[in-house]
């Protein structure tokens, strides 16, 4: 028995050695076996007032790279930078990624106010950039001119604001609305304007249009001012932190209007901070975790296994944006920025977690929006609105 075993292991050893030799020869003979390493950057707000956006985006980015690595042509070295949701920090991070780390392309940033300056830097340095979630039109367009190196995987605010106003008019059947927005934030300001314009066009009445500033925490004066106008709905186009704070004060003051918002609401922290105050509110978003689609379901399953939570829109969009970049890097004629951009411009029907992605002439994705309702412990899918 023993001898036989010995013989077997000896034979096994021999086989192993042979195999190793073969591998070594193969390695030398076909250098393409060793994948070239390229650097891919992510800029996202990992700390600061919208840190859950950044955390989700980072998770989506990492899963995208893992998925790509199974079959991709290159080995990806991820470089992740924190923009703290601050335009200056974002600009510094972009310069560092481009000049020091020499990344091939950038995924992110997520918020428009950071994405606008960063997209200028990427464009001027001819580095392809896809933002997952920055929705302001100015991210891809500067003074009416397209930034050729910049793309986005999401819809833009004119669409989002219009969808929200249409929803208020058609589904909620309300006649009066008030808007409360951050005057220093392009995202918030843009959404407020588009919502207002559409709501008025539909025959509704904007009874109050008030603004506050980034660091404000006391909204009592504005809420009291809105309260006397008794609006049916209150539109709050801002990020979850501010929205939660406003929602609580709205309810504490006894204002009963239905709250509506945009994709900035999408964070697990929203319900945590606002509690019951936000329940019953609606917001427009890029995707719903209830989405029935094989790609989305596979992604959600993997995400849950890895991070033990349901991916929000920022995780999904960051995954899509990163996947598109990686696909372009693989399929472009060379790693030159021009070739990558050429591929992106010609790309048709990318099947993403958040839906089919096609870029229009401005590099913006043409996609449908979903409307979600905030419930006690989760958000529920209501309806999908096509462009």
């Amino acid at each position: 028995m023993c001898e036989k075993n010995n013989k077997l292991t000896k034979r096994g050893d021999k086989m192993k050695k042979l195999f190793l030799v073969f591998m070594a020869v193969a390695f030398l003979a076909f250098p393409s076996f060793a994948k070239d390493t390229i650097k891919l950057g992510l800029i996202a707000p990992l700390t600061g007032d919208v840190k859950t956006f950044g955390e989700s985006a980072k998770n989506g980015f990492i899963i995208a790279i893992e998925d790509y690595s199974k079959s991709g042509k290159y080995k990806i070295d991820p470089v992740i930078a924190d923009d703290r949701n601050d335009p200056t920090e974002g600009a510094n991070a972009a310069l560092k990624l481009i000049t020091q780390d020499k990344v091939i392309a950038i995924s992110g940033p997520l918020t428009s106010k950071v994405a606008i300056p960063v997209s200028d830097i990427a464009n001027n340095n001819k580095i392809p950039m896809i933002t997952g979630a920055a929705t302001n039109p100015k991210v891809t367009i500067h003074d009416g001119k397209r930034k050729p190196y910049v793309f986005r995987a999401c819809f833009i605010d004119p669409f989002q604001g219009t969808v929200a106003a249409n929803f208020a008019d058609k589904e909620l059947k309300v006649k009066t609305a008030a808007v409360l927005y951050d005057v220093g934030n392009d995202y918030s300001k843009g959404l407020a304007e588009y919502f207002k314009a559409t709501f008025i066009k539909k025959g509704g009445n904007i009874v109050a249009y008030e603004s506050y500033q980034k660091d404000d925490v006391d909204f009592s004066a504005l809420i009291t001012k809105i309260q006397v106008k008794k609006p049916d709905v209150l539109y709050l186009p801002d990020y979850y932190n501010k929205v939660a704070l406003i929602a609580r004060q709205v309810r504490e003051k006894g204002l009963k209007s239905t709250l509506i918002g945009g994709d900035g609401w999408d964070s697990p922290e929203l319900i945590k901070i606002a509690g019951g105050a936000i329940v019953g509110g609606y917001f427009t978003n890029h995707y719903s975790p209830d989405r029935k689609d094989p790609i989305a379901e596979a992604f959600i399953k993997r995400y849950k296994e890895k991070y033990n939570t349901v991916p929000d829109a920022f995780a999904a969009l960051s995954y899509d944006a990163t996947m598109i970049l990686l696909k372009a890097i693989d399929n472009a004629r060379s790693l030159k920025s021009e070739d990558i951009v050429k591929y992106l411009n010609s790309m048709k029907n990318h099947k993403g977690v958040t839906g089919n992605i096609n870029f229009d002439k401005n590099g913006d994705a043409v996609k449908s929006a979903v409307i979600l309702k905030v419930e006690k412990d989760r958000v529920r899918y209501m309806t999908t609105v096509n462009p």
Binding site: V217, A221, L222
Partner: protein, 296 residues
């Protein structure tokens, strides 16, 4: 009728804000009284108060009254240490060195505490220490948080009044503020009184921090900057160095903010507050309650 109840509601909003400014402004004014120093780190002690309360409530689940006591003690300790470490060695240095040090302490507290291992630069939701209820008094609505702010501020002011006008420490403190050298010749322990002033000011800022956290349940390490600046303006407006001036100044600033937002636009709000500062410095630099006679 509706207009009256609207204005009354805005007054309630303004007093809520003003009461917190008053609590912080007291610390500025008292320290200025004894040291002739604008303690810029004071807004950060206010921030620390909010964070200490956050940890006490969320990690230990302590009842509200214990949170107040422990937060005041910790802030008092921080105020004491700041004075001993940063200001005392500079007692005889030019005033400008002291001022620069104050700015340094403030920046140190903000950026050191914003390290990832400490408080992080993130916005942290402040836990609800009790359920918030709204009472509709037909003319205006008021929440139990607002009532708490009014009551706590009133109690703090009352205790402070007793402390300053009815105790030996208070007399000594006023003597130091009036004339440091003479007070010292009369046997007042200057160092002790200065420490005492910092302890009182810091614990009031701590109270302000807790109330602010409960009313606006979101805290971060930079939260002390704006309330700090506005309380400083409140102290200047009331007459820096004058206790009741700080309280009146705080309430005026709070009401001004709310009324500018209510009747003009919130974009003008901070602008108007700073115009008040300029106007006071130009036309009445000693503030509302200040006396024209310069002490030599």
């Amino acid at each position: 009728m509706e207009q009256i109840s609207y204005i009354l509601q805005q007054v309630v909003n303004g007093i809520q804000l003003g009461a917190v400014y008053a609590l912080i402004a007291l610390g500025y004014t008292m320290v200025y009284g004894v040291l002739r120093l604008i303690n810029f780190a004071h807004g950060d002690v206010f921030m620390l108060g909010a964070f200490v309360a956050y940890f006490l409530i969320s990690k230990f689940g302590l009842p509200v009254y214990l949170v107040f006591i422990l937060t005041m003690v910790s802030c008092a300790l921080v105020g004491y240490v700041i004075e001993k470490v940063a200001y005392k060695p500079l007692r005889d240095a030019p005033k400008i060195s002291l001022l620069i040090t104050a700015v340094g302490v403030s920046l140190f507290l903000e950026y050191f505490l914003s390290l990832k291992a400490l408080f992080t630069p993130n916005y942290i939701p402040f836990p609800k220490p009790f359920e918030i209820e709204t009472y509709d008094l037909s003319f205006f609505v008021i929440t139990n948080v607002q009532l708490l702010i009014f009551i706590i501020t009133f109690i703090s002011l009352f205790i402070l009044y007793l402390l300053i006008y009815k105790t030996r420490y208070g007399i000594a403190m006023r003597a130091v503020s009036y004339d440091k050298e003479t007070a010292s010749l009369m046997g007042v322990g200057i160092d002790g009184i200065i420490s005492f002033t910092f302890i009182i000011g810091a614990s009031l800022a701590g109270v302000g921090g807790i109330l602010y956290g409960i009313a606006y349940p979101q805290i971060n390490v930079f939260m002390g900057i704006m309330p700090g600046i506005k309380s400083f303006i409140a102290a200047v407006l009331g007459g820096i160095g004058i206790i009741h001036g700080a309280v009146v100044g705080g309430l005026i600033i709070g009401l001004c903010e709310v009324f500018v937002s209510a009747f003009l636009s919130s974009t003008f709000r901070d602008g108007v507050i700073f115009i008040i500062l300029f106007a006071v410095l130009l036309f009445r630099p000693m503030g509302i309650f200040g006396k024209r006679i310069e002490k030599v």
